[in-house]
């Protein structure tokens, strides 16, 4: 019985993230547009784009290799699996133990690895620009992310997301300096990882400023659709990661009833809306920065996270 419920929860979760992801992206876009006093695209625009892209033919460069063609599927799959393992509305996921937080980050890393390779495959200058900048950003963002994981794991005594969420739900952890630092660092990382302003501009096609867009420049049709979807999933993943680690309230605990799950879903959607609003505000508030200042931006994140970890190491007692 429990197994079936958990399995169904897991399946629902996978569907939910898949469906909600483009919605979140669209929501952020339209809110940004509103903030800029434009009407902006309708909320469903991303879905339409995906469908249209899927219908179109794929135009491959002459020297595109098998890697170029298989990469989108791998990227999408890795991201989707990662997103499926982050508790969104319920902690009782059947396969949550298959991969802990570190593994989830590594899955995203795998997606990025192949994306960067795909960017270099055709052998154009812009692909190279995108890939090299992407790996630079990643090589600062990943350690920061790992440090954040350390902080959580030291507080909770586990790198298992559902355990983390459950722990933060059950006991009253209270306000922790290190957790606060971790939140800030996580936000910085999330902004960078999802190619948002100020690190990258998802809307730009001005060559010299692109990072993510430059890598996918050669993609078209269904491949592009998959990559866009993966990007949206990634954004959603980070939002729900922040949600489940730092505002876990409303998550349906493992073995909870149907009602709790429904409530969880609703609360989750609210969380998404809030996050979207905040992100849009943030993005409109500040300007894009030069690529080489990203190092400092993320370095700050890394330092914050390291500080958080050190605090925990030094302050004994509450470590699990």
């Amino acid at each position: 019985m429990a197994v079936i419920r958990d399995l169904s929860v897991q399946g629902l979760q996978m569907l939910l993230v898949l469906l909600a992801a483009p919605g979140l992206t669209g929501f952020v876009r339209s809110v940004k547009a509103r903030l800029l006093r434009r009407r902006g695209p309708p909320l469903l625009q991303p879905y339409r784009d995906l469908v249209r892209l899927c219908r179109k033919d794929v135009v491959l460069a002459h020297n595109a290799s098998w890697l170029f063609r298989t990469a989108p599927y791998l990227i999408f799959a890795a991201t989707w699996v990662a997103a499926a393992l982050v508790p969104t509305f319920a902690t009782g996921l059947q396969f949550s133990w298959a991969a802990d937080l570190i593994a989830i980050i590594a899955l995203l890393g795998a997606a990025r690895f192949f994306l960067a390779l795909a960017g270099m495959d055709v052998g154009t200058s812009f692909g190279g620009i995108g890939s090299s900048r992407e790996v630079m950003i990643a090589s600062f963002a990943e350690p920061a992310m790992i440090m954040i994981v350390f902080t959580l794991a030291l507080v909770v005594g586990s790198t298992q997301l559902s355990t983390i969420a459950g722990y933060l739900l059950s006991t009253n952890v209270g306000l922790r300096v290190s957790l606060g630092l971790a939140v800030v660092a996580l936000v910085l990382v999330a902004v960078a990882e999802n190619a948002r302003v100020p690190v990258d501009n998802p809307a730009t096609h001005l060559e010299l400023t692109m990072v993510h867009e430059a890598m996918v420049l050669e993609y078209s049709g269904r491949h592009l659709a998959l990559i866009e979807l993966a990007a949206a999933l990634k954004l959603l993943l980070y939002v729900s990661l922040i949600a489940c680690c730092f505002v876990p309230w409303g998550l349906a605990p493992a073995g909870a009833g149907l009602l709790a799950h429904a409530a969880g879903t609703g609360i989750y959607l609210v969380k998404l809306v809030l996050a979207g609003l905040l992100l849009a505000l943030f993005e409109t508030a500040i300007a894009k920065m030069r690529v080489f200042r990203v190092a400092e931006f993320l370095g700050a994140g890394l330092m914050l996270a390291l500080l958080a970890t050190l605090l925990l190491f030094v302050s004994q007692g509450e470590i699990q």
Binding site: A77, A106, A116
Partner: protein
Amino acid sequence: MMLSIALSCPAALLALAVVAVAAARWRGASRAIYGVSLGISALALVAALTFLLQISPPAQIVLPIGLPWLGAHFRLDALSAVFLIVVNLGGAVASLYGVGYGEHEEEPGRVLPFYPAFLAGMSLVVLADDAFTFLVAWEFMSLSSWALVMARSRDPQNARAGFVYLTMAVFGALCLLLAFGLLAGPSGGYAFDAIRGATHSPLLSGLVLGLAILGAGSKAGLVPLHVWLPLAHPAAPSHVSALMSGVMTKVAIYGFVRIVFDLLGPPAWWWGAAVLALGGGTAVMGVLYALMQNDLKRLLAYSTVENVGVVFIGLGLALAFKAQNLGWAAALAATAALLHVFNHSLFKSLLFFGSGAVLSATGERDMDKLGGLIGRMPKTAFAFLVGATAISALPPLNGFVSEWLTFQSILMSPRLDPWALKLIAPAVGAMLALSAALVGACFVKAFGVTFLGRPRSPAAERARETDGFSLAAMFLLAGLCVAAGVFPGVVMDALAPAVDAIVGARMPVQAAAGWLSIVPIAEARSSYNGLLVALFIAASASLAAYAIHRLASRATRRAPAWDCGFPDPSPATQYTASSFAQPIRRALGTAVFRASEQVDMPAPGDMRPARHTATLHDPVWEALYAPIQRVISYAADRLNGLQFLTIRLYLSLVFAALVGLLLVLAIWL
């Protein structure tokens, strides 16, 4: 029984080496010799595996050679069995590769005799059970590999590599000699059993630890003792590079583990701190060096330095935990280290094989002259890609597992009391994370520039797929990488006896955990399941593919690259290795390597091309080795004057000596 088999294999290899001296000039000798060494290594591999899997008690044997009153002690226990597996697995696969690759050798006489000797030396180090035999095997290993490095000695670069290599090797061996001298004491109890039996004062143990770090670390490539490694590994023929990088460094690690964990007795906590700090520094420095390289094999060599650092992080944690009597944590850390040893031996050999295939297909090691090989050597490209993914610690491959375990053991470190460790451990964790991310960047660069894009030189255009044996070797390793990544629990359980032998504790049996997942301590705490992750990825990828191809278009058109509307036919417009590394070079390199870029932009109307040059400084060499060189040559020059004195002055030397000694007597008495 297994020990005698394992011993007879190196003996047979030595015999083979002697035969090879004579046989080298025959046609087909290379195939024969590589084939035979393949068989022998496989036999030794089987012996070691059986020994390890049917948990056998340590076996000992004393041969009447070596020091007359000592004899040559040999011992096969779990630890040496693990490393014997690493050595002979690497040896077997390298021999398989060599069967094909050896055909390209222009002077087989310079390679064939030393190759089996090298294999034999490594196996003997792992089996040795007294200081003398250990050092003999150790030096023999260095010597034979030196001969292999000198195989292409007409290139002065290689000659320099050989010089630096053997000098560093002898330095390390002398350090180990001193360490053993301390351990054995003036009475000369060189047998490891005697050393284990003796008790050592803390000061002495600390000294031995330092000497062991110098001795084994210089062979394993710990920064700052790594300088020989990026010179020597690329200089050798590729299958030998694979052995040196993938296997010989592991033998060095074995030496360290054997001395510090086994012979030296209970550790003090600061040992862990020292080793941990060294490991962290090595990991970051190694990968930074690697990122700056344009030479494929050199990049791989530097990434070996990085991985050695990761292993030493695990070992340092194990030492610290052991010192604090946290057996289970120590077991976790030690398992992580040993697993990474095994994994690295797999994918580093694979990557060197790939680079060797590229080298023999194009004659190029410089990545800026390669590119687009994925079209011409798809199989090699695929194998190399698997290796690159594995070494970048990406799930579901094996590299990730050992890295993950290392992270898990770092997460245990708050339980350590000493403050130094409390501060070092998280910092090292950050270093490990940083190096993990940088490795990803490094291998995106390696694979992307070498295999993707468009060919940057005619050689790269004319490249063609390498021979079947080499491919077989590569795919074998790739398969092992996947298997070890998907079923890590099996490997970890196999490692358990060795771990038990060195830290006196073992991890929970992984086979007990459901669904083939691995659980370091408790499932609520952390767990990882390579199999499921792999299945999920495969399933969702194929699901997506299926869905899209069913519901949406599957049509595909070929067209010229889009490139924002202004495609340039010249491959020179692609990102090169150095330009790919530029962002990271600016972000990190300026601090570490004093990296600087000069742009020489001709004035308008000036026809000469614009030039962009990036200069790097090797901090370690300039800070440590160059001064030593200078001092020695200065002293040599000064003293050299004594060769050119007059007889009278020589006489006055004698006179001075006489008067001096008489004065000593006069004062003494």
